[in-house]
Amino acid sequence: MNRKLLALAPLLVFVLLCVFLYQGLFANPRELQTGRIGQAMPAFNLPDLMDESKRWTDADLKGEVYLLNVWGTWCPTCLAELGYLTELREQGVKIVGLYYEQGYDPDFDGQFDINALREDVTSMLNRAGDPYQFNILDLKRTLALDLGVSGAPETFLVDKQGTILLHHTGDINPRVWRAKFAPLMQELQ
């Protein structure tokens, strides 16, 4: 009897493993639990996208509930969500852009053509809508790294005390807004 049970053991272990693998297959790997949630916004001191003499720090943002939206002109999904984000702005949601430049490598490319980028940004926002109070330029991607950004678009919901409440990967559309953001926003009001 014992021998038979022992002979069955590998099969049972394997079946258990399969159950986990099966569940893992349908778990959304994009559902990131970055561990940033519940923590304070990392400290930063970065220039404004449109005016490098103007600098933004984490202290400037305290005292208000806002969305930090990571985006770039190179990112088609970002273009797609601009319209809905603009609607949200009109409803009174404060949205701050964190501009994430993909094509530029600080190690390699030397001087960055900021004027060309500003033209791109202006034309895109004129076309698709401008949801942003202002944009922070994170050329070396230090803040993006601190936040655990894995791509664009991604959006963080931050409360008055500067605590990150939500980290969403992918675009924001009415469905996502109702399911994930709206309940939290209501609590905060």
């Binding site: 002979a7 590998p10 099969l11 986990f20 297959l25 790997p29 994009r30 639990q33 894995s150």
Partner: protein
């Protein structure tokens, strides 16, 4: 037209493999010799058609046929011809097709080299291999065909092969690894065939052993080349990252290593029979599991986008059928098996049993470390990551008893030993190892950490005991020449394998302990000293390759004012996709590597450079190559080449 022929050819191969699965297994079940006899020709036919299909993809890639989606995504017209060929396994669909070529190839070779087997066993082995072929071909045809067209709108230029894969190491790494993975399916088929036949005797082990050894040799070489590629291509001098993809190849390797040792015990002594069968099933299962983990997107790095759950579903179902089926059969049959041999505690049997235990524990550690983050998340406990420190610590702990035992094992005899006769040999070897290690390390380095000393001493211990054993075995005979002649090839394989691992241990230990790196900012003409070498920066020049442009930092390396070498550390920017690649410059040496990577341009003509001095890093790969040679050596063993089936009587 050609790609469609490729797809059609694969369909034909699939039909043949369905027949290969049904005819021989049914024939073996009913005792119909005619059905069984069909197996070898079906196996060879299957291989021919899979090969034709692969040739079609290579042709599409060489002729820049960007109407084929796979070619458009993984190749470009500016790619050198040899990378056009390797681009056929640079992506998922093509890699699976290459896997199929290997699978069918192994099956064909088994068909041709198994005349000495009884028909019932031969037919079952080929039938099981046919079944595996059906699974993979079905997957390719339904889920991941590399022959899909992008019509009517196709790009005029391809997206190019990922620059990371444009490296000689990448040309040979995947085929070798797949040879290993797929080769283990032969061990698996032998195990299943033996279970089906119900004869788990030592003849089974004897037949399975050379196949397992060869597959293991390929796997070892594949992993070694992969590590070397990571070192030379990723630009920061690392050689092993404990990343899920690497772990996926390490797990089957560990189990296959256990399997080899267990097979030899079963073959020679008739013990551990059921355990050996289980290991054979486990080794291939872990190859499949590795494929599942890597290909299903179940474990993703932050940059892995779109992975298709349908593909994962198929592989999981296939995994469940193959492994679940194998283990069920095992559960049904194995309780009838009885061990024949008897042995005492101080015996080679026990040493090999412990060896197996350590290897299996190591495998479980890797498996847990790889899957735990996923399971943890599913249980709702949040995301965790298990990284290098965990694996390094666990392996360091396991290494000590494992290496001590590895030195002792070969000196032990089967059945039982008188401890008093061994005492002196072990004591002498231990003293020699400690003295030699102390002499070596204290003459080279000022600071020696205890763990460095222990690990190095263990490597030396393995070499010393191997030499002691070799000397004892050679001097038994009248002349040395005769002594050497009498040693079989499998003995030499053991020597190579063990000494190879000693090299790996020493290489890993010393390079981890004594690598030095410096980040410097240099202007042309500046000199920096690191250990006994001086590095003179001669400036940066522009470079232009077939499909990239960039800069190369030229650095002259001097030792005592004599020029050692000139290194060109490159930074490339690939034309398509605008990807940047660091191409490190390496001056390889037996006792040290000088490794140089070019960083960013700073102000006023200065550049940042990273310089590494890596002692004994080559020993790791040298060791890996020695170990894989051990696997291939057994192929030449006369005992495995005899064609008669009379061996059963003498075994």
């Amino acid at each position: 037209m050609i790609p469609e022929l490729g797809y059609f050819s694969l369909t034909l191969a699939m039909v043949l493999s369905v027949l290969l699965c049904i005819f021989p297994l049914w024939g073996a079940h009913t005792g119909n010799l005619r059905l069984m006899r069909a197996a070898p020709s079906l196996a060879i036919g299957q291989f021919v058609f899979v090969l034709l299909s692969f040739a079609a993809l290579v042709y599409a890639s060489l002729t820049d046929d960007f109407t084929v989606s796979y070619v458009a995504y993984h190749s470009s017209s500016t790619l050198p011809w040899y990378y056009k060929i390797t681009s056929t396994w640079g992506g998922h669909e093509g890699a699976i097709l290459l896997w199929l070529v290997m699978q069918a190839g192994w099956t064909a070779v088994v068909a041709m080299r198994s005349q000495s087997l009884p028909w019932v066993l031969r037919a079952r082995v080929l039938g099981v291999l046919g079944f595996l072929g059906v699974g993979f071909m079905l997957y390719t045809l339904l889920m991941s065909s590399p022959f899909e067209r992008l019509l009517p709108y196709f790009p005029v230029e391809g997206r190019d092969l990922n620059p990371l894969l444009q490296d000689p190491g990448m040309i040979i790494h995947p085929p070798l690894l797949y040879m290993g993975y797929v080769g283990l399916s032969v061990s698996f088929s032998f195990a299943i065939a033996a279970l089906l036949t119900g004869k788990l005797d030592n003849t089974w082990a004897k037949w399975s052993r050379p196949w397992t050894m060869t597959a293991w040799g390929f796997l070892t070489l594949g992993i070694t080349i992969g590590s070397w590629w990571a070192y030379s291509e990723l630009g920061w001098g690392g050689w092993w990252f404990w990343d899920p993809v690497e772990n996926a190849s390490l797990m089957p390797w560990l189990v296959a290593t256990a399997l080899l040792h267990s097979l030899s015990t079963t073959e020679k002594r008739g013990v551990f029979k059921s355990w050996t069968v289980l290991l054979a099933i486990a080794a291939f299962s872990l190859s499949l599991l590795g494929t599942f983990i890597v290909r299903s997107g179940i474990i993703v790095s932050v940059h892995a986008f779109a992975s298709d759950p349908n593909r994962g579903m198929f592989i999981l179902a296939f995994l469940a059928i193959v492994v679940g089926g194998g283990l069920s059969l095992y559960a049904l049959r194995v309780s009838q098996v009885k061990s024949e041999g008897r042995y005492k505690f101080a015996s080679r049997e026990v040493a090999l049993w412990l060896n197996n235990i350590f290897l299996v524990v190591a495998t479980l550690i890797v498996l847990l470390g790889t899957l735990l983050p996923m399971i943890h998340k599913e249980l709702g406990l949040g995301s965790i990551s298990i990284g290098e420190p965990f694996f390094n610590k666990m392996f360091a702990i396991l290494l000590v008893p494992f290496a001590i035992l590895m030195g002792m094992g070969p000196l032990l005899r089967w059945k039982q030993n008188k401890w008093s006769m061994l005492q002196n040999k072990f004591a002498l070897s231990a003293v020699v190892s400690l003295v030699a290690t102390a002499a070596w390390l204290y003459s080279s380095y000022d600071v020696i950490a205890p763990i460095t000393f222990i690990a190095t001493a263990l490597a030396v211990w393995i070499v010393v005991t191997t030499v002691v054993d070799l000397a004892a075995k050679v001097t038994i005979h009248k002349t040395l020449g005769e002594g050497f002649k009498r040693l079989g090839l499998s003995y030499w394989a053991m020597v190579l394998g063990h000494v190879g691992l000693a090299f790996v241990i020493a290489g890993v230990t010393l390079t981890s302990a004594y690598s030095v790196e410096r980040d410097v900012s240099m202007k042309p003409g500046d000199t920096v000293a690191l250990n006994e070498y001086q590095y003179r920066f001669d400036g940066v020049k522009s470079i232009r390759g077939a499909n990239y442009s960039g800069h190369a930092g030229v650095v002259t390396v001097l030792k005592n004012d004599k020029q050692v070498t000139v290194l060109h550390a490159e930074k490339r920017r690939y034309d398509i996709g605008m990807q940047f690649m660091t191409e490190a410059a390496v001056d390889a040496g037996f006792t040290r590597d000088l490794y140089l990577a070019l960083g960013e341009q700073l102000s006023q003509g200065a550049w940042s450079l990273r310089i590494y001095h890596k002692p004994y890093v080559r020993w790791m790969w040298l060791g890996g190559i020695l170990i894989s040679l051990a696997g291939f050596l057994v192929l030449g063993d006369k005992r495995y080449r005899q064609k008669s089936t009379k061996q059963e009587a003498s075994a």
